[in-house]
Symmetry: C2
C-alpha cells in the first residue's frame, strides 16, 4: 500500500475516500479537509476568538492541534465532571487536557463541577433522578450550559466541539429512527449565534473517528482512550456499532448518509428551526440569565434546585 | 399463552401490541385494524369500486379476503410477468390467484405481459438493460403502469396493493439512508387521484408481515410462499433483515418508525409533493396517453422502444 501523493509506504488506507497516504501527507491532508469544511459552513475565521471544548479524548485534542496549526486564535476549556467510577476518569481526562495545553503553550481553563457548582455528575444523578433521566442526558445538559456560559462571559465568537462523523451519524440515525423533527431540523454542523447563545461549530463532523484517531497517534498526542464509564451501554454506542458494520460492507456509507442529510436540510427539509429559535429567545432564566423555553429556571438551574 | 379476549388458547402473540389472541378473535381483530386504517386515511368507502392488485402472495390474498369480508366492492387484477427461472414463479402465482378468486366467487382479470405486450420481464431485462437497470426497478415500473392503465380503463375509484409494514419500513429505511427527498415526500399510505392517475392505497401498511401471514394461514388461504427469484439478493430484503433484528430486540420498533414518519409528513416535513404533481400533470405520453414528466414517451413505452 503506497501513498497516493509520493509513493512512499502508506500508514493509512481510507476506503471511503479510495485514498492511501503516508504519515507526512496524511498530517497535511486532514487539516486541509477540516479547513475546507470550516470555510464551506462559514464556521469562523482567523479574526474570531475560538473556544475549544476539550475533553481530553482524541477528537478534541486532535481538533485543537489542527486549529492551532491552522493559526486560529484558540483557547481551551475543560469541564471536570467528577466522574470516578473506579478508573479516575475525570482526573485522568483533566490531566491529559492540561498536559496537552502545557506542551503546546496553549491556554486551558478548567471548570470544576464539584468546586464551582457543589456537585459532581454522579452526585447529581444519585440525588435527583433515580433513573428518570439518563446520565448522558444530565451530562449533555450540564456541558452545554457551562460551555455557553463560559463563552458568553469570555466574549468568544464561537464554541467548537470535537464531534466526529461517527458521533454525528449515530445521533442522526437515532433522530431519524424516532423522526425527532426538532432535532432533525437542528442537525447542522454550525448553529448561528442567538441572543444569549454563542455560535457553535463542529469542524470534525465529516471526519471519521478512525481518521481523527490516526491523526492523534501520528502526531504523538497523548489522549484518554477509554469511553466514559456511564456511556458504555448507551444507545449511541449501539447505533455506532450498527453503522460500523454497514460501513465495512459499503465504504463511505456513513459519510454519504450524513452529507445527503445536510443537502436535505439545505433544500428545506424539516422547516422548524426558526420557530424554535423565537420561542427560546423570548424567555430568560431568573437565576442564571441564560435563555430558556420556560418562564422559570432553565433546565440547568432546575437540576440544582430539585 | 391465552387469548386476551376469551381466555382460550392463543394462536398468536404479538409482542409489538402486547396482545395474544385465539384464532377466532385474531380473525376479527385484523380486519378491524385494517378497517380503522382505511377510515383514518380516507382510502375508500363502500360505494367505491376497488381494484386489488393480486400477486398470489399472502399479502394481496389476505388483503382481498379482508376487503371482501368487510363488504367492499372489489375486483382483482393479476399481472403475469412471465418469470420462470426454473420454478415457474409466474405460472404458479397466476394459478394461485385464479384459484382464490374462483373459490370466493370473485372477479379476477389477468394481464399477460408476454401476450399483451410481446415480452416478459426477463426478456425485457435481457434486451434492454444489460445490468443498467435492476430487474426490480423494471418490474416496478411495468406493474405501476399496467395497474394504472387498467384502473383508468375500468373506471375504478382506487387501486389497492398488499404492501405490508415490513415492506413500507424497508422502503422508508432505504429512502432515509439516501435522504431521497422526493420519495420521502410521497411515502403516504394513500396517494390521491390526479389527472390520468387513479388514487392508490395501501391498507396493510401498518400490518406486520407476520400478522398478514398468520391471517392467511388461519383462513386456510393457499398462497405462493416464495420470494420472486429476482429479488432474493435485493437491498430491500437486506434492510428487512436488519429491521427484523431490531424488532426482535425492541418489539414495536418497526411500527413506531413508520407511524412517526407519517406524523412527520403530516406536520409538513419534506414539502415537495405539490411541485412534483404539477410537473407530472403537465405532460402526456404520445403513445399511451398516460401522464409523464417528459414530453416524449413515458418510461413504460420507452422500455418497449429501445
Amino acid at each position: 500500500m503506497r501513498c497516493r501523493k509520493c509513493g512512499e509506504k502508506a500508514v493509512i488506507n481510507m476506503r471511503q475516500h479510495r485514498l492511501s497516504l503516508c504519515s507526512q501527507h496524511y498530517l497535511e491532508w486532514l487539516p486541509n479537509q477540516v479547513q475546507r469544511f470550516i470555510e464551506k459552513y462559514c464556521m469562523f475565521n482567523l479574526n474570531d476568538r475560538v473556544l475549544v471544548a476539550v475533553s481530553g479524548g482524541k477528537d478534541s485534542l486532535a481538533l485543537w492541534d489542527i486549529l492551532h496549526r491552522l493559526k486560529y486564535q484558540t483557547e481551551g476549556v475543560h469541564i471536570d465532571l467528577g466522574i470516578d467510577e473506579g478508573i479516575a476518569y475525570s482526573d485522568v481526562s483533566r490531566q491529559t487536557a492540561e498536559q496537552f495545553a502545557n506542551d503546546n503553550n496553549l491556554t486551558l481553563k478548567v471548570v470544576n463541577l464539584d468546586s464551582d457548582f457543589g456537585e459532581t455528575i454522579p452526585e447529581i444523578n444519585r440525588r435527583t433522578h433515580r433513573g428518570r433521566m439518563k446520565p448522558c442526558s444530565v451530562c449533555g445538559l450540564v456541558k452545554r450550559h457551562i460551555l455557553n456560559d463560559f463563552a458568553q462571559q469570555g466574549d468568544f465568537d464561537v464554541i467548537v466541539t470535537g464531534h466526529n462523523l461517527d458521533d454525528e451519524a449515530a445521533i442522526l440515525f437515532a433522530n431519524t429512527l424516532n423522526w425527532s423533527l426538532e432535532l432533525l431540523a437542528r442537525g447542522y454542523p454550525v448553529l448561528p449565534a442567538k441572543p444569549g447563545f454563542t455560535k457553535k461549530a463542529k469542524p470534525f463532523s465529516r471526519i471519521y473517528e478512525r481518521e481523527s484517531a490516526a491523526y492523534a497517534v501520528l502526531r504523538e498526542i497523548s489522549y484518554v482512550n477509554y469511553e466514559c464509564p456511564f456511556s458504555i451501554d448507551s444507545k449511541q454506542l449501539h447505533y455506532k456499532t450498527i453503522l460500523n458494520e454497514w460501513e465495512d460492507e459499503n465504504p463511505g456509507m456513513k459519510l454519504r448518509f450524513y452529507l445527503h442529510y445536510l443537502q436535505a436540510l439545505n433544500k428545506g427539509a424539516f422547516p422548524w428551526e426558526q420557530d424554535k429559535d423565537e420561542e427560546i429567545a423570548s424567555q430568560l432564566c431568573p437565576r442564571c440569565g441564560q435563555p430558556t423555553t420556560t418562564g422559570g429556571p432553565c433546565a440547568f438551574c432546575h437540576l440544582f434546585e430539585i
